[in-house]
Symmetry: D2
Subunit: 359 residues, 4 copies
Amino acid sequence: MAGNSFGEVFRITTFGESHGPAIGVVIDGCPAGLAFDFDFIQQQLDRRRPGQSALSTDRKESDALEVLSGVFEGKTTGTPLAMLLRNSDQRSADYDALKEVYRPSHADFTYQARYGHRDHRGGGRSSARETAARVAAGAVAQLLLRSAGVEIKAYVSAVGPIQVQQAYAELDLTRTEDNLVRCPDAASAAEMEALITQLKGEGDSVGGVITAVVTGLPAGLGDPVFDKLEADLAKAMLNINAVKGFEIGSGFAAAAGRGSEFNDAFELRDGRVRTQSNHSGGIQGGISNGEDIYFRVAFKPVATIGKAQQTVNTAGAATELQAKGRHDPCVVPRAVPIVEAMTALVLADHWLRSRMAKL
Amino acid sequence: MAGNSFGEVFRITTFGESHGPAIGVVIDGCPAGLAFDFDFIQQQLDRRRPGQSALSTDRKESDALEVLSGVFEGKTTGTPLAMLLRNSDQRSADYDALKEVYRPSHADFTYQARYGHRDHRGGGRSSARETAARVAAGAVAQLLLRSAGVEIKAYVSAVGPIQVQQAYAELDLTRTEDNLVRCPDAASAAEMEALITQLKGEGDSVGGVITAVVTGLPAGLGDPVFDKLEADLAKAMLNINAVKGFEIGSGFAAAAGRGSEFNDAFELRDGRVRTQSNHSGGIQGGISNGEDIYFRVAFKPVATIGKAQQTVNTAGAATELQAKGRHDPCVVPRAVPIVEAMTALVLADHWLRSRMAKL
Amino acid sequence: MAGNSFGEVFRITTFGESHGPAIGVVIDGCPAGLAFDFDFIQQQLDRRRPGQSALSTDRKESDALEVLSGVFEGKTTGTPLAMLLRNSDQRSADYDALKEVYRPSHADFTYQARYGHRDHRGGGRSSARETAARVAAGAVAQLLLRSAGVEIKAYVSAVGPIQVQQAYAELDLTRTEDNLVRCPDAASAAEMEALITQLKGEGDSVGGVITAVVTGLPAGLGDPVFDKLEADLAKAMLNINAVKGFEIGSGFAAAAGRGSEFNDAFELRDGRVRTQSNHSGGIQGGISNGEDIYFRVAFKPVATIGKAQQTVNTAGAATELQAKGRHDPCVVPRAVPIVEAMTALVLADHWLRSRMAKL
Amino acid sequence: MAGNSFGEVFRITTFGESHGPAIGVVIDGCPAGLAFDFDFIQQQLDRRRPGQSALSTDRKESDALEVLSGVFEGKTTGTPLAMLLRNSDQRSADYDALKEVYRPSHADFTYQARYGHRDHRGGGRSSARETAARVAAGAVAQLLLRSAGVEIKAYVSAVGPIQVQQAYAELDLTRTEDNLVRCPDAASAAEMEALITQLKGEGDSVGGVITAVVTGLPAGLGDPVFDKLEADLAKAMLNINAVKGFEIGSGFAAAAGRGSEFNDAFELRDGRVRTQSNHSGGIQGGISNGEDIYFRVAFKPVATIGKAQQTVNTAGAATELQAKGRHDPCVVPRAVPIVEAMTALVLADHWLRSRMAKL
């Protein structure tokens, strides 16, 4: 109801502000008996962590995970799994200058409109810091999915105007972590890295696209009407800060084409019903069909830039703003594990939900 | 949980199959005291109805609305508002040939995977017929929003390769109903109509794009984390059959650009805080900012085409399919009221939810 | 949110007013593949129906069930199962005299406080008529439970001061339908019947108690914290009109006793862990233990009586009321199938929910 | 879904095991702008804390509250309010002997049936320790209600066979904290205290009854069908460990009486519509009527006793158990703040929900 929970059966609730004592997450609905791989979760957090490379903000957070409940003798207990991350590097003073100013394209003004106040120290709940809690929870969801043979891999497929030309199937997705931008195509990665470095110098920022691919998902997940699997994925992605667009399978390109081009013919292959093409992106009528799921997520440029910008203050007076906070010039490299986490949360939830469809 | 409800406070549950006795919807959470404009609701249903023009399927449904509960003396009572639409034109025999065949890019195969059976008579719940129930419910949501000064207008902005070049603000959206394709630009509309007619003759289908615009929405709707307003809109849109993509505000274009180009500077205008540009699409940090909301929705071509297609049957044997059912060559003209309805459902829900944000 | 739905997985939403066109229910979450026994459902409705005997109101409702969706070829489809009951005997005129009067111990005044208006024709949603929808849905839940070997039997164990002295295990619960009061003890039944008849003549009403017994439920249903099985049963019962109390197992008697008397020792019996006594009522720590569940439900006397009563009207002026509507002098005989239905809804929901507790 | 959350709008999720690192709670849906009285919350925790008097267990928990989020500059922010309590006194070794034994009338066996394992260290989530998290959350709900003039007072009205004879209105509820049993009638309190002390010596335990009274609640809270206010209260109470019964207003006594005795006549008093009597207990048709709400809650005797008991172990072999853990001989004195907390959670939720009933 208040928008801090996600999922129906595998349900998470995150809490915590950017500059409060801690952030955390409670997972309710993780089944009992799952082997709890603490290191995997910490590793996902490290992939998201600020300050991990020259391309990202130099806010330092150790993001050392503390598990408070729900795990006993190395396995999940079926009870709420609470995880905590202390906030270690809180330079609230950086934000004092912003106390009375609405930063352009941030949530400052809208937060005020909603709650009648705002936490000016780093955006409160609107801070990207909150996504660390999702990454921790998403890693648990990934453990659950992996136990069922499902793998999720996301990568940066565009930074500004630089786009990977190959389709996902032509790429070696095990190379994604080989470079700082998390792009499995080395040539594109080099160009992207150069652009981000250049913009950092200019005090500007740039947008990008992340592509996600899910393999090994069985047919039969998702609901035909209001919780179509692609709808829940779209919601999950648009719930990530700075995301402005989502397309699955043939996406916007399909809008320009014909049925005779975009239909996926069925055939029997590998002993089961398969599609010859996969314009559908692995989902038909809201339900997974056993093919790969793939989708693209558009991120706008980071709103915080070093250049001077016009704005108004809380008294309504015009003012100029030049940001001093620590922010990434391009958010997509660090958003890769967030996209993976949100994808995992959707799929783990539907995987459990599908247990109830038949007698 | 089973995916037939939508919304948290203004919550709808739809029921009914394409070829069962009836479809319908229960709205739970509509406040008491709303003037119930039956004619407006029927009118929205008529805009969605099949057989309304030469461009659409010739399935005939009178779609005469029956209100079963929740209205007394012309006003909503605050109790569940149930509405029923009888299915009148059920040519189930049309579908007998399909009983053992999986139609390409339909939900036949996935439905079977999910439920262990399927209703072969027109797709069961996966039929577009179900959307009539949403349109009825969405019309009630629109009545609620209109009482608060909010207007929703959608229109066809692309059919296949033919795209309206003007931005929404340059169009006269009161002209949308002037033509059969529901495109406010007459020149584009003529081209679109010609293309659809041509493809109908060829037994093919074509995709398209619908743009939706919301005016008059106050600032402060939406939640900053998991129920961001754009996320709920994305989910709503991807829950419409055949939708493959969603973008809000600057959308995918923003992914290719820079922060200095895409930030929306604040100013004081009309006595309130406004943005100079609206790349954000009326939502910042998941919460409405009082500017127009606008977004684009991509529809793939209708899967049912007259051309022969390869597929397999339920026994796994290869077969060829040539559809005989009645279907639209292009779904977007009739999808305009569906997009409006789903938009209204999201906004009515968040409008009520925002009542609880402050003490 | 608005209180017209019940259950999480096996979730029902009822709609309809006492004097509107119809009442009905949508079940969302009934698994696919359940044999749909229409006659059983109609039979449960007939047990609840007014006018079925000399002891009940003479409002006549045929309560002929119409199934609108969710059943195909004799089985549930896994999609929403909607059922409709038309209101046939609407003597709204009976209620015209009540338009401006608050009936004592009815919902008239509170309804007005909540919604700012009220439907004076028979109480709107507060009418016992709404429970017919629950009985229909509960019958489907019973079909589901029966497929798993679970049986629910309720009976009248007290009418006013007349109480059945035997514990449930000493009674033959197949005799419940042998008399009009639905009490399996013939001697008590005769006394109860005489008392009800006498009070009907006096224009008075009387309360009573219903005892419910569940057999065959496996261990492991229910949650240890906020959805304890007994808590959901208590909520289900208190949601029945006129219910003022609930006790499970040893109930209020246990409050007066000692641990050494009321603990249930474990033993191995019939090849499984059993309790020697069953003071717990089949639930320990919120979770079923495989023993019989039994509980008692207290109903206050029907508020509508033929005697003159003091009250105020909507203008706040004192007035006297002498009811003319048709009402039962004692509600418990007809409430037996309602108690069974609500019990079944809770158990079917938790039966499905238990599928998700373990990996 | 997994039963660790409570409430719809004012929604809490608790986490943590008795013998894990910590327990805690996240409140999602507390409106922004509420003055946050830390001391009041800590004070409620202290009333529930074990080891507070000679009558209770000597488990020592400091229960020092840590607020992790949702409060800024002394007020709630409208975002999730997370509170943490570290577990300080974990004598897990006390429980080693119980590892393979099912304690009679505990959740050991049912937990195992549900999750396929159990946390033998103090009952995991089934431990009364979990209720500390509820008390913290309930105290916040009380702050919210107090801002609206609503007060909740519970007290011990029976311990074993010793019952307070006066009705709540004849007692001075400000005297509840004057003695260790939390009974406002000093004479009864002395008897109760003597009985508990005696049973402690005998290694036995005893049940009891708590009565709760709510004053100042406006008319119009609660829903007429499935979330009747009394139903949500009943659920809240039965969700407290050891509770076996609930009755509101005239309760089980009404089942034995007549309508002419138990109806509450309306009159105009103090300028508003009031009832002359209050058999209804402040709720009619599921909705509050502005009168005092009062109800009684039956607690069975504590299951852990010092006497030897028969049971079986996890291998199914008969064994004898003599408990060594630290437990209260009578739970009701410490359960008073838990009853108050759960009551507050229900009312705060409905208080917010009532904001949406009317246009």
